[in-house]
């Protein structure tokens, strides 16, 4: 893979160091939570300690959370350093993609929003980021036209397309790179379409990305 040097991107979850996430990047999702469509990308962080690979265990509902939501999202894996990059340079610096669930303690987030507090507890807890295997960019014809979907116990909850993003992948990564330098192995989460909603202990989440992959995770309460 040209330009990807010595990195083993199939294991980016194990050595990548940062995760930058974007909120409110699909109009229908902004509407369902009563948020305005942003005029610039809304950025937050998730820690790499929140990664959960398929097959390694269940999603853990954090203690004290009573409104635990799924958000299906396309993740973009950075292949080359991005600092002050223009939009036209972005896709050349991408290594590939992954399907992710930006699990969210919605009640913690509502409390943080009310108090003006950080979102870390709502978004960063252990297992807050279920993630698929890595998909090399060569396998993705057009990242701006991918179906992403999520089912709970087999029932459809989210079914969107990345063509509905408010800010495109090149726009997002260019924008982020003007504040946060992105390095190989870093992950950018690109927001979720409508249909977010609660999951409970015992539920099974199934999710898919175009005809590229599906993944499945169970949900339990953290003891």
């Amino acid at each position: 893979m040209a330009g990807q040097g010595v990195h083993n991107f199939s294991r980016f979850v194990h050595w990548g160091r940062n995760i930058v996430a974007v909120g409110r990047n699909y109009r229908d999702h902004c509407a369902e939570l009563g948020n305005a469509v942003p005029t610039k990308p809304l950025l937050f962080m998730k820690p790499v300690s929140s990664y959960l690979e398929e097959g390694t265990g269940p999603i853990l509902i954090p203690r004290g959370c009573h409104n635990f939501h799924h958000e299906i999202e396309l993740g973009v894996v950075i292949g080359e350093t991005c600092r002050d990059v223009c939009e036209g340079e972005v896709l050349g610096r991408v290594a590939g993609y992954a399907l992710t669930l930006d699990m969210t303690a919605r009640d913690f987030q509502e409390e943080a929003k009310k108090k003006g507090n950080p979102w870390a507890l709502a978004k960063g807890f252990d297992t807050a980021l279920p993630v698929s295997k890595f998909i090399p960019k060569e396998e993705v014809k057009d990242p701006s036209s991918l179906r992403i979907w999520c089912k709970v116990n087999g029932e459809s909850r989210q079914d969107g397309t990345t063509s509905d993003m408010v800010f495109s992948i090149p726009h997002l990564i260019s924008h982020i790179s003007h504040t946060f330098t992105l390095h190989p192995g870093d992950l950018v989460l690109t927001g979720t379409p409508a249909g977010v909603g609660p999951v409970s202990p015992g539920d099974t989440l199934t999710a898919g990305l175009g005809d590229l992959l599906t993944m499945e995770f169970s949900v339990v309460q953290r003891e």
Copy 2:
């Protein structure tokens, strides 16, 4: 160093993967910003892309920021994995310490607090975390009784002691570990004493930790 395995902690900045920071952990600093003393630690994230080692370049004021603040803080470098650890186990899992500046775009933070938005732009920009060399824990007699100070252009601005923390290091790390698993090389920032205030392009920040070290950084506007 017992229990530290194969890790080279003197280079934790280069391989550590997460930074968990604590806000409002000194009473006099809560008061100066008009915040209540919290009843539990207030947690946020900084990305490892925000590290700035002494001698590698200046602190960059992010574009659009017009109120750029220094916050001198003791950093704790994790030596062994911490998940659901009790307070009594914490210090045995610490590898050492570092002196840090939790640089803050205060105007961005005020806007985020008003809007209920994440703090990422205020706290996570490139160079937001100037950091000293690593200090092995064997060189620190009592981390709960260390002077930390910060000067701007030679004039004292912050001069506190870690004995004034609201939540102790064992309490903080035990608390964090119940939500975010901490791994070797991760850094925990423990909050800042009173005296935070603005710095401008051309200023020089000098800071010190007990009789262990001093460090110096210059400040410029990001182009």
